[in-house]
Structures are given as structure tokens and as C-alpha cells.
């Protein structure tokens, strides 16, 4: 196994909620990400799935240090990012980029496509001549499937899919090694989604990128990921290689998510077993004791309320955090 590109260890991101004004007031701690650990290998795509509000996006931003960490370590090729001085961290940003959910909102409306794509380049290589920057930007536009002669257009003159391509061009112009994709396709049409996903996969094959792919669309995650991590209320429920996770989900939450994916065949769709969860996601301000999923879990017992199950190995590349994980048949 190759050395991990990024190694995240017991990462916690907590937010203080409530007034902290002149006169104080009640303070609550929201544990958006609470003790997440995983390794990311070079050239690998890690899918990140979970319900809204389970900390997917927060985790993605925390890895890039766009948010302050409460505790934990993010080790990038042996260097702890949290220990880096702001200047060093800014230098590291060349290596890691992010693509956002809302393609239009992620582009400055007052800048042309060319200026937007060029910004990371001129930030890190201010010595480049203007003509050279332009040439590289146009090459990048061609690479992501935009017409290079549209370099002077503004974001509002592009379609959503084109805007997302501009965002991708901006992310890859410095040839990073990691891109966090924060629901990059959920705001797009299904046909455009496929184009963007395939573009990302092509770029990954060409440039050896690692991707952290955040989505709540399990089908899309299955298509693009090598490994998948399931989050629930800021905690890892299950992390496994794609085939193992989809064919043999061990955590009851993963099983429920999986059974909710519609199958485009009405006969199968009607016949397949459904795991329907009761209730809603509990408030992350006041999570249940022990395992956060126990309030909705069909298998919950006394022990689930008492302690959080540890993430345990359940297969070659399969970890699950459940007291009652249905253990697979070992050969």
C-alpha cells in the first residue's frame, strides 16, 4: 500500500452557538465533526455521504483549513497542517483546492472567466507574463470543455454546467494533488451531472488527483468513488471500499441509505426490501448519548445508549462503527 497523501486523525470541528455579545448569554457547542479519522491515498477518490447537516461539508472545509479545528491532526505527506504558520499554509494551498455546490455563487460576478481561472495562478506565480497567463488559462479552458474564445465573458453569461467547468478550471490550474468536491453536481441537471462527473474522472486519471467527493447522491458516489465514508452527526459510521460498501453494507444506517436509492426498474423497485428510518435527524446541539444513530436504529439496545461503538475492522478494507454490525461471513 502506498503512503497516504492525507491522513486525518481524530478531527474535531466544534462551533460555539449563541450570543457572545456584551452581556454574554447561553453558549452551546455544536459538534459538527466529532472525531473523524481516515487516510486518503494518492489518486484515490473518497466519497463522503450522509444526510444534510451531518458534517460532510464542514469536514471538507476543515481538511483544507478553511475552518478552525477544535482538535485532531490533518497530516499532509508527513506534515501536520495545523502546525503550519499562515504563510506556509498559504503556500500549501497550491496543492489542495475546492469545488463548490453552487456554480454561479462560487464565481465573482465582477470578474471575467479568464480572470477567475487565472487568479490562483497569478497568486502563486506572480512572475508570469500576462501573455503566458492568458495562454495557460485558455489551455485550461479547452481542457475542461469550454471554448477558449469565451475568456472575456462574465459568469452570468454562462450556464450552470459551464460555470462549474470554470470552477474546475480554477481548481486545477495549479495542478493540485487534492480537490475537495463539495456537492459539485447537486445543483445541475442530470445530463450535465454526468458530464461533470466524467470530466472529474478524466482529469483524475490524467493528473493523478485525489478527490474527496461530498454528495448525498449515492448513485453518483458509487460511480466516482474508490472508497466511501458514511457520516452521521459528525461521526464516521462506516468506511469501506466502494464494492464492499454497496454490496455488503454492515451499518444499519448505511443499509437504510442504500435501500432508499431508487432503482430505475419499477418491478425491482416495488419488490425490494426497504429499511425505513423513524423520526428525523436529532439536533446536533443535543446529540443522543452513546451512538448518535441509536434513536432511529432498528437494532438499538441498551449498550448503544451507553457508549459510542469504536470503528472496527470488518473486512479487508471495511471499517464499521456499530455494536450490532452484521458480521460478514469470513472465508
Amino acid at each position: 500500500m502506498t503512503a497516504p497523501l492525507l491522513s486525518v486523525n481524530d478531527l474535531k470541528v466544534h462551533f460555539e452557538i449563541g450570543r457572545r455579545g456584551l452581556f454574554g448569554g447561553a453558549r452551546h457547542v455544536l459538534k459538527a465533526v466529532d472525531g473523524v479519522s481516515f487516510d486518503l491515498r494518492p489518486g484515490e477518490t473518497l466519497g463522503l455521504v450522509g444526510e444534510s447537516g451531518c458534517g460532510k461539508s464542514t469536514l471538507g472545509r476543515a481538511i483544507l483549513r478553511l475552518l478552525p479545528l477544535q482538535s485532531g491532526r490533518t497530516v499532509w505527506l508527513g506534515r501536520d497542517l495545523a502546525r503550519l504558520a499562515p504563510r506556509e499554509m498559504r503556500e500549501m494551498r497550491r496543492e489542495m483546492q475546492i469545488i463548490f455546490q453552487d456554480p454561479l455563487a462560487s464565481l465573482n460576478p465582477r470578474m471575467t472567466a479568464g480572470e477567475i481561472i487565472a487568479e490562483p495562478l497569478v497568486t502563486f506565480r506572480p512572475e508570469l507574463k500576462r501573455a503566458e497567463v492568458k495562454q495557460r488559462v485558455q489551455a485550461m479552458m479547452a481542457k475542461v470543455g469550454l471554448l477558449p474564445n469565451q475568456i472575456n465573458r462574465y459568469p452570468h453569461e454562462f450556464s450552470g454546467g459551464q460555470c462549474q467547468r470554470i470552477g474546475i478550471a480554477r481548481a486545477i490550474i495549479n495542478e493540485p494533488r487534492l480537490i475537495v468536491c463539495d456537492e459539485p453536481v447537486s445543483a445541475l441537471d442530470v445530463s450535465i451531472q454526468a458530464q461533470i462527473i466524467n470530466l472529474l474522472m478524466d482529469l483524475q486519471a490524467e493528473m493523478g488527483l485525489s478527490l474527496i467527493f461530498i454528495s448525498h447522491n449515492l448513485a453518483v458516489v458509487r460511480h466516482i468513488s474508490h472508497r466511501v465514508m458514511v457520516l452521521y452527526l459528525g461521526k464516521v459510521m462506516e468506511i469501506a471500499d466502494r464494492d464492499s460498501l454497496y454490496a455488503n453494507p454492515l451499518h444499519p444506517y448505511t443499509q437504510a441509505l442504500n435501500s432508499a436509492v431508487p432503482v430505475p426498474d419499477p418491478d425491482i423497485e416495488r419488490a425490494k426490501p426497504r429499511v425505513v428510518l423513524k423520526g428525523d435527524l436529532p439536533s446536533p446541539l443535543n446529540p443522543p448519548s452513546g451512538c448518535p444513530f441509536r434513536t432511529r436504529c432498528p437494532r438499538a439496545t441498551q449498550v448503544c445508549a451507553e457508549c459510542m461503538p469504536a470503528l472496527e475492522r470488518a473486512g479487508a478494507d471495511h471499517m464499521v462503527a456499530c455494536h450490532h454490525a452484521a458480521m460478514p461471513d469470513r472465508p
Binding site: M96, Q97, N108, T112, N152
Partner: protein, 299 residues
């Protein structure tokens, strides 16, 4: 595709920026364009007055003391009680009034925008301290502040007119700072700011390249409304006798003198105040037009 798809000689498609869109909408607004024309005429006449071959503003004609308008002799606005041409004095007074408006607005633009954008972007404690400074300065009564300045700083050290530029400029950036801060706080959470941050762009460049251009719309509108407010303030201070000193004139001093002689020579107050009212109206129309042009949603 319409004209937006025009292709430049290098084969690149020309973009249609938000500013170009706004300019087109502004030019379609008749009242705003008329306001702009009136403003241009007043400005050109005021600053071109020395080159128009008119009388000097302190030229005294002993035969025409407090005379009504006389077109034959070229006294279009009549004369004041010292026999000076009121038309010429109004134009020269316009120089002072318009300059005060311009200087104070520029000061408020530069200081207010940078201050507000920095406070809003940096946030937290820095934001708190910066905006409390604004609050404290805001709580000082303006006229009191100006009187203190005029008393504290000796006349031979700095000209009263300059002092007034200083005083008005020092106060007028406070509103701008608040407006820009509010805009910045709303823009700061947008994803393109986060994208810039993730790309390693420095805070300074995020503020100047991403935040300020995006809050310039309300700033431009507020600027056009600051100019008339400042002109009025200048008139008020001069009316109180603390601003522009004889023999210089401003619209405020002219109106003040005119009011004293209102019963015998009504033209001495009607004409200068008429010019001022027309100018302020024009500025407000331009501001309205800009607001509609820059923010078409609010129409």
C-alpha cells in the same frame, strides 16, 4: 445572440460586464440623464467662470448697489449690497460648494470603503473595535466639532475653507463605513470568497479584488446622495459664519447674505438658492438613476 456576441479582432467573444449593463439601464433613464446634463453645465460654468470673460467676483460697481437683474448690462442675477455681480459670485461660490462636496465624498469613499470592508471581512473583535470607533465619532455633534476645530486651529495656520474640507471629510466617511461593512458581511460568506481563500489569495487582495468591487453598487449610490448632503452642510456652516470668509463666497454665504437683504433685494436670495436647489435636485436624480441601474431587482 445580440450585440453581446460581438467578436473582437482576436476571435474572442466580448463579455458584457455588470457595469456595462448598468450603464445601459442608466442611459435609458431620462430624469437621470437630464440630471447629469444639468450637473455638467453647473460644474463647467462654475469652474470655467474665470475664462468666460465675466467680471471679477469682487468687482464693485458703485452705480449698481442692490440692483435687480439687468440683462442689458449683463447683471443676470442682479447685484448685492456692495454692488458686486451676483451671477459671477454664484458661479465662484459654486466652485467652493462643489469642491467641498467632491472632496468630502472622495474622503468618505476612500476611508469609509477601506475601513468598512476591513472591519466586515476581518470580523470578530477587530470588527467590534473598528465599528465602536465609528460609533464614538458618530456621537460627537457635528456642528460642535466644527466650531471646536475653527476655534482650536488658528486662522493663519490653515485657511477656513480648507478647514471645512477637513472637518466635513472627517465626519462623512462614518456612514460610508457602516454601509460598506454591512455589504461586506453579506458578501463575506459567499462561496467565491471562500474559493479565493482556498486558492491562497491574501486578505488584502480578497478585500480589494473581491469584496470592494461587489459592494460598489450601493457605495456609488450613497456617494451621489452624500454630495448634496455635504453641500447643504457647507452652506449651513457658512451660513453660521464659520465656513467660507469674505471676499470668497459659497452658496451658503450668498444665501445667508441674501436673507439679510431679502426685503429690499429678494433676487439676492432667490437666484443663489435657485441654483443650489437645481443642482441638488440634479444630484438626487442621478443618484436615483444609479440605484435603479445598479440594482434592477428593486425597481
Amino acid at each position: 445572440m445580440t450585440d453581446a456576441a460581438m467578436v473582437s479582432p482576436r476571435g474572442e467573444v466580448k463579455g458584457r460586464s455588470l457595469w456595462a449593463d448598468a450603464r445601459r439601464r442608466f442611459l435609458r433613464n431620462r430624469a437621470a440623464v437630464a440630471g447629469l446634463v444639468v450637473l455638467a453645465v453647473v460644474t463647467l460654468l462654475s469652474f470655467g467662470a474665470p475664462f468666460l470673460g465675466l467680471r471679477a467676483p469682487d468687482d464693485i460697481n458703485w452705480d449698481m448697489i442692490s440692483a435687480p437683474p439687468d440683462y442689458a448690462q449683463g447683471y443676470y442675477f442682479g447685484t448685492d449690497q456692495n454692488g458686486r455681480d451676483l451671477f459671477v459670485r454664484t458661479l465662484y461660490g459654486g466652485q467652493v460648494s462643489l469642491m467641498v462636496g467632491l472632496v468630502a465624498t472622495l474622503v468618505s469613499l476612500v476611508i469609509g470603503t477601506l475601513w468598512g470592508a476591513s472591519a466586515g471581512y476581518l470580523g470578530g473583535r477587530i470588527d467590534n473595535v473598528m465599528m465602536r470607533i465609528v460609533d464614538i465619532l458618530y456621537s460627537i455633534p457635528f456642528v460642535f466639532f466644527v466650531i471646536l476645530l475653527t476655534v482650536a486651529i488658528p486662522r493663519n495656520f490653515i485657511a477656513p475653507t480648507m478647514l471645512m474640507y477637513l472637518a466635513i471629510g472627517a465626519v462623512s466617511w462614518l456612514d460610508m463605513a457602516r454601509i460598506v461593512r454591512g455589504q461586506t458581511v453579506s458578501i463575506r460568506r459567499k462561496e467565491f470568497i471562500e474559493a479565493a481563500h482556498a486558492s491562497g489569495v491574501s486578505s488584502w487582495h480578497i478585500i480589494t479584488r473581491h469584496i470592494i468591487p461587489n459592494c460598489l453598487g450601493p457605495v456609488v449610490v450613497y456617494m451621489t446622495l452624500t454630495v448634496p448632503a455635504v453641500i447643504l452642510t457647507e452652506s449651513f456652516i457658512s451660513y453660521l459664519g464659520m465656513g467660507v470668509q469674505e471676499p470668497d463666497s459659497s452658496w451658503g454665504t450668498l444665501i445667508s447674505e441674501g436673507v439679510n437683504a431679502m426685503e429690499v433685494a429678494p433676487w439676492a436670495v432667490i437666484y443663489p438658492s435657485g441654483v443650489m436647489v437645481v443642482t441638488l435636485l440634479a444630484l438626487n436624480f442621478v443618484g436615483d438613476g444609479l440605484r435603479d441601474a445598479l440594482d434592477p431587482k428593486d425597481r
